[in-house]
Symmetry: C2
Subunit: 387 residues, 2 copies
């Protein structure tokens, strides 16, 4: 096991009716910037619960944070927060709203160009960000319990991630009932995204980190068991609760400490979103099976373990078990309604493979993955396998 530091300061309030805990978490004298997305929270009752919990606190609302939150949109929220002297940010929504809240919270006290925050991956944050609270309405990204955010800037075709220990939400509220009304497609994407978050931290090379490995396998198995259940029965409280709690643990830091990490599937997937507008989770489903095939030698030890412990594959040769595990992974995504081939999206694999490899090479991403051995040539190979 490698040395590590683990710290997750977010307080989670989980369950039915927990939105009322906002009234204990945010001081009565706070000036709150409420950040939200497109307005669905006004239809499903979340907004009313939030307003009731906020009570007489001075609150200013900013609706309109889009999927893949845009820097320019968020700067309007920053201007509002500065004008109204907001001293708390309350994010109500999914991962995009939560990620956006992290940028807003850091940008409000930031002197100079706030784009430097994502441009330096968080290094430019020097003034303490505003405290953040969150009401999560879409399980997927883990943003409710980590210090990560991904910010897009459409005006200059950029999409950058940043991290800072001071942008973990102070508290996050996870009420499964608030997610019952989500469209099936978004729930499926959330399951697929969380699954890949675990894989990126787990499917590398053995590092003698038994708790991290078994926790990762636990989360994968819960997603495999509960994902189809919650898609089939969106109002099954327990299935949805298990999905939400699994998605939080998929990216709250616990399984990633002391072990190598990959993230090449995300890096390649981001390009497919940028080039073709494919949903983030769907890009991961396209890339992952091919990446497992191309990296089968460097990932062999973990692939065998994954086959046995996650998919209960114990028969046949090592290579047969690995092949079966890769096909099980693809079949799992397909079972969620997430197509795994570029042709499913009417995309020509050969052209896209070349273009993605070129774009990543141009920005210096020529040696990705846990061993830095995923070169542009391998990226092409991976995407050709997804034809």
């Amino acid at each position: 096991m490698e040395n590590f530091t683990y710290h997750n300061p977010t307080r989670i309030h989980f369950g039915r009716g927990q939105i009322e805990k906002i009234s204990c978490e945010i001081p009565a004298g706070a000036r709150v910037l409420l950040l939200a997305g497109g307005g669905s929270i006004k239809k499903n009752g979340v907004y009313d619960q939030v307003k009731k919990a906020l009570g007489a606190r001075v609150t200013h609302e900013f609706f309109g944070v889009e999927a893949n939150p845009d820097f320019d949109t968020l700067m309007q929220a920053v201007a509002l927060a500065r004008r109204e002297k907001s001293d708390w940010v309350l994010a109500v929504g999914g991962g995009s709203v939560l990620d956006g809240a992290k940028l807003v919270a850091a940008a409000v006290p930031h002197e100079g160009d706030a784009w430097q925050i994502p441009a330096t991956h968080g290094g430019a944050i020097t003034a303490p960000p505003l405290p953040i609270g969150a009401v999560l309405t879409l399980p997927a990204t883990g943003s409710e319990a980590n210090g990560n955010a991904v910010i897009s800037r459409r005006a200059i075709k950029e999409k950058l991630a940043f991290y800072h220990p001071l942008v973990y939400p102070r508290f996050s509220i996870l009420d499964p009932e608030t997610t019952f009304s989500l469209p099936e497609r978004q729930v499926a994407n959330g399951i697929g995204d969380a699954f890949c978050h675990v894989i990126e931290q787990y499917l590398t090379f053995p590092a003698a980190a038994e708790i991290q490995d078994r926790f990762a396998e636990s989360i994968l198995k819960v997603l495999i068991d509960e994902g189809p259940k919650t898609l089939a029965s969106p109002h099954d409280y327990d299935a949805r609760a298990n999905l939400i709690w699994a998605a939080t643990w998929a990216l709250n830091g616990a399984i990633g400490v002391g072990v190598p990490q990959d993230w090449a599937t995300h890096t390649i997937g981001h390009e497919l979103t940028a080039l073709h507008g494919i949903d983030h989770a769907r890009t991961l489903a396209i890339v992952l099976p091919g990446l497992m095939r191309v990296q089968r030698e460097t990932k062999r030890g973990k692939l065998v373990q994954y086959a046995a412990r996650v998919w209960d594959l114990h028969e046949g040769s090592e290579d047969e078990r690995i092949d079966a595990a890769i096909e099980s992974t693809r079949a799992f995504y397909e079972s969620l309604g997430i197509r795994t081939r570029l042709s499913d999206y009417k995309i020509k694999a050969d052209e896209t493979a070349v273009e993605v490899a070129r774009r990543l090479a141009a920005r210096g991403e020529t040696a990705i993955g846990e061993r830095g051995d995923i070169t542009p040539a391998r990226i092409e190979e991976i995407l050709l396998l997804a034809a």
Copy 2:
């Protein structure tokens, strides 16, 4: 899944050489009370590393915190801290030193009788405790990452637990190498204690909490796999690291949220320590197999799951699998060198069974366990099975 709040604010520095992180964690101007046990840290190099990391900080040392830390001893440390105006407590040792540090940190600013802190299970804490840091040298209790402490007061034959959210250590340092020199008996006790911590939160009735269940099973499997390895090869870094990290997760709150909990094994075990001076972990090994037998109907669902997922028992009838799982549990403790029968300790089961039931009844503990159905009669039955 039941509603819950989860929050664990402790920052963990894990690995070789991490003691130096003290210099980043405790402010340079702090006045530190260093709390320790019997002096083994001066033999194994831990003390020297701690002193080097503390550098020029004003430090006062209090050695002599005993196993099952005693209130009267700790009050001497409180007097020292008050006299020297300490504003940080640094615990260097195992669970007893860490538990003691929590009482000291809460007692220093407490007005009135500090015994009220354990006597009210923490409710009497109103003044913010001093911040606590910890260097853990014995994996077992999980005290390095929770807000729990158990305090004895030999003068009045009491032993009481308290909890408070403000006595979680701010940081804890877990360096596996500092534990290599531990006596085998203490390491075995640590494994056995951590195992029972998991069981008390897991082996109840099904609550549709899949992450919590699978994480619990993960920790049990790691203890089963790594425990014997680290006893056989105390200098095997990875085996010891995995044990330590497993013991932390066994009682840091993660597996206990949203589920019923038992703790009857601990309640009964404490009496065996009080009456016969048996090591805490050994009392658990005596009580647990009998408790599983007596409670087999109310715990049936989870016993079957435990048999399958932890012990890979899939053959035979449900009752045969349950029996095999209970015997596997007993055999596991025995394999650690922890004897599981009262006769191994030269104790007459019939007399002790009556006496323990009487003592617990006298203090109102007449309906313990996750369903409150462990009565004095059942306690007798449990202990007679350990004859």
